[in-house]
């Protein structure tokens, strides 16, 4: 019994990606229990909502990005192959315009649009707002998936494997979707998806932070969905973060951080810890894939 448990633990630690996923969940659960015990209920509920909203939106961004990336990779591949120059140039030009805009600026511009719609009372359902926010981020994130998928098609279409299936009468779309994407690129796509999830959390927090500082006098963090970014921008959280700086000069204050400054510390910890874990998971997964 003990030996088999030992072996299971050893096996998990040999697969570093799984080990890091476990560490991530364990870290979040520990933090959650700690907050239940020591954080006041209104703040605890706010943090819980912010974490759920942030992760849900990141998940939506990833799903939308994969979908857009897949559709556009096929469009680009078939237009290029058909040598239909005008539509191909239009598509590539449009994609390159999106590519040329810095992500944060592009997303902020689309957030302005959401703010405008909210201002006009055209949207007020929180879930629709969250979905629109996810779409805004996905528009600037899907290019990474698209580039990866085009690279995979290009790589395989130069090999005999692609031609061998073609001359067997298998449709090109089937070869690309089933043989290249599903059977031969799952690992690569999953690795990209993990990395994308991490970078989306980072982007979201940065933008929501900027947004909360001041996008409009009427539309602000109070009527925008609660996320880790805008919760971090609140005065309480800022004070909690400043307390970390204070601890550097007064080390005896350190223990107070875990009881009196939990809101800011929790948010900062969730963001940094999640990004670290996702970075580790993604790298370890790629290492395992290559070996």
């Amino acid at each position: 019994m003990i030996t088999s448990l030992k072996k299971t633990i050893q096996r998990i630690f040999q697969r570093k990606d799984i080990a890091w996923t476990g560490i991530w969940f364990l870290g979040l659960i520990t933090l959650w229990i700690w907050d239940i015990l020591f954080l006041n209920k209104p703040d605890f509920l706010q943090i819980q909502t912010a974490i759920i909203n942030t992760f849900l939106m990141s998940l939506s961004v990833v799903i939308l990005s994969v979908f857009l990336g897949w559709i556009f990779s096929l469009i680009v591949f078939f237009l290029r192959k058909s040598q239909n120059h005008i539509p191909y140039t239009i598509i590539v030009f449009s994609i390159n315009i999106v590519r040329s805009i810095p992500q944060i600026i592009g997303i902020l511009m689309l957030y302005f649009l959401i703010t405008f719609l909210m201002f006009q009372n055209l949207i007020n359902n929180i879930y629709i707002i969250m979905l629109l926010m996810a779409v805004s981020i996905a528009i600037f994130q899907f290019l990474e998936i698209m580039d990866l998928l085009i690279e995979r098609i290009d790589y395989y279409s130069k090999t005999d494997f692609f031609n061998a299936l073609l001359v067997c009468g298998v449709k090109e779309l089937t070869i690309i979707n089933k043989e290249i994407f599903f059977k031969s690129s799952r690992g690569h796509i999953l690795n990209k998806v993990i990395a994308l999830f991490g970078s989306t959390i980072f982007l979201q927090c940065s933008i929501d932070f900027i947004l909360s500082i001041g996008l409009s006098t009427k539309i602000n963090s109070v009527n925008f969905p609660l996320t880790l970014g805008n919760l971090l921008a609140r005065i309480d959280s800022k004070q909690d973060i400043l307390a970390i700086g204070h601890t550097l000069m007064n080390p005896t204050y350190f223990s107070n951080l875990f009881f009196e400054h939990l809101q800011g510390i929790t948010i900062a910890f969730v963001i940094v810890f999640t990004l670290l874990c996702i970075y580790k998971i993604s790298n370890a997964f790629m290492e395992r894939l290559e070996s």
Partner: protein, 499 residues
Amino acid sequence: MDEYKFNISIYKADLPILSIENFRLVQGKINFLLGESGIGKTMISKSVFGILDPDKFQTKINNADYKTYLLEKDTIDLRQNGFFVFQEPSTHLNPLLKIGTQLKEGNLGTGKNEHALLKQLWKNSDEKHYLSLLKIYPKPYRPSGGEKQRFLLVMALKKIDRYLDIKTKTIPLFIFDEPTGSLDDELRNWFLEVLFEKFNQKPFTILFITHDYSIISEVVNKNPKLHNFIIFNELVRYQDEIKQQVFDEQNYLNWISKSKHSLSSQQQKPGKCLLTLNSEINVFDKNITICKNDYGNPKIPLKIHQGEIVYLKAPSGMGKTTVAKIIMGLIHANRFEFSFNSHKYNHTTSKKKWKRNLWGKLISMTFQHADEALNVNSTVRQTLMNIPRKKRPKSTELMQKLKLVFDSEIDPSILKKRIRQLSGGQKQRINLLRALLLETPLLILDEPLNGLDFNSIQKIINLIIERRNTGTGILIISHNEEIIESIVEKDSIYYLLQC
């Protein structure tokens, strides 16, 4: 004569790669090692010669750790006195050194016989041509694969000359790993002639790895004096184990003569013409011509009839595969024309026409490198099931088909195996079976016998003949001249020349 005996096990990242017990090599003899590709011939020879990376693989030889084996005096002597010709010439040559310099590297010495050896292996070429190659780097000037291979053989022969010149009791080991893979039969035979001539002067140990079974006829028929010095061994797979067994060369010779005999006795009248390919093709700014003999005259169109096997012959690199791909619409040629069932196809025809009319419907093709032609991430079942057929085959039917190319006791678990888990020979058989399952009226087989063992060659040849007898037209591209010529009538052999 003494015998080297090895028990070898090789692991990579704790996963078993290869294990063989009692691998034997007889000293002072010519040891031919046959067997399907991917079975482990190269891995075994590299480990014996002491050139396997000890950090990459966990290897044990005769129960000793590999690092210990590498430090043994006998192993050091093996490497110092012998030579290893790698199967892929590009990996053997240093891209940063001129070929001429590489021929004189280390204990290859200045080599007084170098010029004579070059002359022997470039019999048909102008002296200026091969001498000019000595002054260039292997890349980016890129001599052809056959030329690079000949340079490696010259290196090995120089090392043999060195052994012949000195007085020593040590018998060196020379390993030739597929040394004639990029050479046509004529060049291969010249090399064998030179090698055996040196062996006759003073015997040394040769391990000659090949899956070209047609070498047997050349070796046995032309060198009766060496009969007692030649040993044919074969690596075979019994379930998951690899074993070395003696290969009876008479089995092969009898089979070839029987095939030739049955060819002359079964003069079948071919049916209607399926495909006619015009004799002149221009592709990549080169003119390729189809001829009735290898002198380039007369130029004739290539015709494939129902129930006929056509053999397209040419030295390596001449464009045989290119012609097959042009017929399949995979390469766009500047000028060509063929008709299939009275429909014309040429350089102006849209690719959609191939897609609509030919692919998988009227013509199917197998590609020469099974590794590249199959999706290594698919299972055997998916590979054979996912091709468009009128009726989706059941597992039992697939097993029956697999038994045609594998042993009859094949385990049904093979259907669940991923292609990447199969050996080179097994992949090649799946590659061929996929095209055969399509049952198209015309079949193009590019190097169908690549990497197969003798048992599988016989099965594949039988299948090809069966398909021909059902009225299928078959175009074969292969360097296994002896075997293919034994099943193809003389009138159905075409030559490819570049102008």
